[in-house]
């Protein structure tokens, strides 16, 4: 089922959060709302659930206008950050809760709930109390509870952020698998860019109530459109662009920046606020000691050995740049204070500043 927001206005105590916001979540997709706290992603989710009513505009489930339909008749499954299991009921009773509300006979409900618990690997916990389960187990129960009612729409409100790193990685695979199996349109809210990149079909990047960019994880990562998107997803290095110079012989654009002339194959229009965005793993150390296009001199300010990767911070004429290098591909580790020349590639993206 396709879900859409149409011209949504949302005011909080006189402050406008959304202004004429439009957004379409395609049917069957795993759709992620990504942004820092206060960007409005949770409000969008709560608008879909029906806990919040928009000040103006419509919310459509398929072709149906559900704007004025209350939560309990919207047929959505929701998973909360703090699990929200009913503490006085057993695991099985928790999963059966939504089925009972749909007047499904007890036997059938128990059967379906058990099957769902089995799918999340917790059938042996059916009679336990929620308090006796670990955080990861509780969140799996919450997933089972939301999915067993076969909702039209699944809403995930930062379901992983209360868990520790290892569990998070494990559980995000399970959540993605469950979504793919069921084919239920899913909206996922997170502030964690890694989670968003790993799980989503589509990502919408939000900044202060505005959707900055929508695209597949690869698109968002490789071709960010704004300084905000480039910085929030993957933490790109940003260098301001002051002017465009005549293009190189092969058509590559040449751009004037504080660190010298840089190259880019991006076709974005240049404005007064344009920046070049470069991922830390795109930049490499050059052996050349002659200056040229795309070559930037600098001094190693900080080196951090992280195992497979060594991270460097290099001081240049445009501030510090971060570089990630494969440890095994380096002839020798570079030391703090060493003079280096960086090679900035043509894949650099032109992004729009504020």
């Amino acid at each position: 089922m396709q879900v859409s927001f149409e011209k949504i206005d949302q005011n909080y105590g006189g402050l406008a959060l959304f202004d004429q916001l439009d957004l379409v979540v395609p049917s069957g997709k795993f759709f992620t709302l990504l942004g820092p706290s206060g960007c409005g992603k949770t409000t969008l989710l709560r608008l879909l659930a029906g806990f919040v009513r928009p000040s103006a505009g419509r919310i459509l489930f398929g072709a149906d206008d559900v704007t004025s339909i209350p939560v309990h008749r919207r047929d959505v499954g929701m998973v909360f950050q703090d699990y929200a299991l009913f503490p006085d009921r057993s695991i099985l009773a928790n999963v059966c809760y939504g089925l009972a509300a749909r007047n499904i006979p007890k036997d059938e409900a128990a059967e379906r709930a058990l099957a769902m618990l089995k799918r999340v690997g917790l059938e042996s916990f059916a009679d336990r109390a929620p308090a006796s389960l670990s955080g990861g187990q509780r969140q799996r129960v919450a997933m089972a509870r939301a999915l067993v009612i076969k909702p039209k729409l699944l809403l995930l409100d930062e379901p992983l952020s209360a868990l520790d790193v290892k569990l998070r990685v494990e559980l995000r695979g399970m959540i993605r698998d469950l979504q793919t199996e069921s084919g239920i349109t899913t909206v996922f809210v997170t502030h964690d860019q890694e989670e968003a990149l790993a799980m989503s079909d589509l990502i919408a990047v939000l900044d202060r109530g505005e959707i900055v960019q929508i695209g597949s994880p690869r698109e968002i990562y490789a071709k960010p459109r704004t300084v905000f998107a480039a910085g929030f997803v993957g933490g790109a290095n940003l260098i301001p662009v002051s002017a465009e110079l005549p293009a190189a012989a092969d058509g590559t654009r040449r751009l004037e920046t504080p660190v010298g002339v840089l190259l880019s194959q991006s076709d974005a229009v240049l404005t007064a606020h344009s920046h070049l965005a470069l991922r830390s793993e795109e930049i490499s150390f050059s052996d050349s000691d002659r200056p040229g296009d795309g070559l930037v001199p600098g001094v190693i300010e900080h080196a951090e050995f992280r195992g497979s990767i060594t991270g460097y911070t290099v001081r240049t004429a445009s501030g510090a740049l971060r570089i990630d290098a494969w440890t095994t591909q380096q002839k020798r580790p570079l030391e703090r204070g060493e003079q280096v020349v960086l090679e900035l590639p043509r894949s650099a993206q032109i992004v729009e500043g504020p």
């Binding site: 806990f51 209350p70 047929d75 703090d82 929200a84 009913f86």
Partner: protein, 468 residues
Amino acid sequence: MAVVVARCNFPLIGLVTALPLITLVIPDVVVAASWILILGKQGLLNSWLEPLGVQLPSLYSWWGLVFVMTLNNYVYAFVAVLVGLKSMDRNLEEAALSLGRPMGRVLGGVTMPLLLPSVFAGALIVFTHVIGSFGIPAILGARTPVLAVKAYNEFVSEMGGNPQMQTTMASLLVFLGAGMLLIQKFVVERRQFQMESGRAPFPVPVAGWRSALATSSVVIIVALSLLPTVAVIITAFTPSIGPVLRYGGFTLAHLQHALIRAPEPLYNSLFLATIATAAGTFFSVAAAYLIVKRRSALSNCLDVLVMLPLTIAGTVLGIAMVNAFNSGWLVLTGTWVIMALAYFLRRVPTSVRAAVGPLHNLKDSIEEASMSLGVSPIQSFFRVVLPVIGPSVIAAAILMWVTTLSELSATIVLYFGGMNTMPIEIFQQVDSGRLAIACAYSLLQLLAIFIPLAVARCIFRLKVGTLE
């Protein structure tokens, strides 16, 4: 004393933590009556000491009043401090110890300042209780006029008395109560430290003479608190001729009188308490839900309003209600409704607070989860919210029931012929010198209070903290 209890481990510690329950639920009147038995002019102690030529100071004096009131109310302060101590972070004391301070100075320099808000709060509770208390001074304070009793006397003689005097004294009481509550709000809350909710300190095992000292002091205090009850029970079975008691004998006559010949006070009390509790519980849950989960200007008002009766002494509330419902479109004076209403008003603040606590801890998302699973908001409340807050609501209801049973200060101005409650009956019997019958009623009252309490304690594991 609370410091000793919270931090040390010694025999009989369980007895002390159960203490608050016991002393809290014994009605004022019973306490006063029993102290008369023990220390009164013809009391046990005086008749023993008389041959020895020792003359105790009269119980009917200022000192007697202070003595009995202290014993009757110290528990409130004790509970407040105990809760404060238990919620303190162990790391703070350990940090101070690791910086090289001896334990004694740590207690004085670190623990005490942090405890100050709790001590203040406890003191204030005791103050408001004492200033509004009626039962004890009415019985003992013949020579020491107290505001609440004075207001009552003026009221009783109101038909020909001085209505201005009466309202002046009532206002004075209200101002004192409200003033104290304000002081608590501004002084105590500002002094409240944000305490990282850490682990509670370990109790220190104590042995040898310290253990003996601690145990014996606890035993003495508990004994002092329980002495009245014991005296009441004995007296209820002691034969008497007029006001003179003959100890050593045994009779069921008094109980028979209380149970069979004149059982109306018992019925009346049970009836009124049940009505008021049912209404109060229902109202409290609804009010607490509005206050916690549906924040708005209106529910903020409600929040303040439900706490208001706390500042009004029972007698004053009674007088105010008599005057308010004496004429006009709603005449309630002289009916049982006004009595139930007064009980309801007096106990609602406590019940609301009892329901507010667990509601605060209940996350919004639980209710939202229920709604998202297809259950309507109202049904969600009954299916998800109520079961979670249920135990503490029931505990509060039982407490309300129990305290209502022993309510005297408002009843004394509201009751009318044929609607005697137990405390009234006890008060009147004591007043006319028939101590034995008073004790028989007291015994019944104690039973009526302890049986449901014991049942509740078994079922819901009523905790000391929930009494606050």
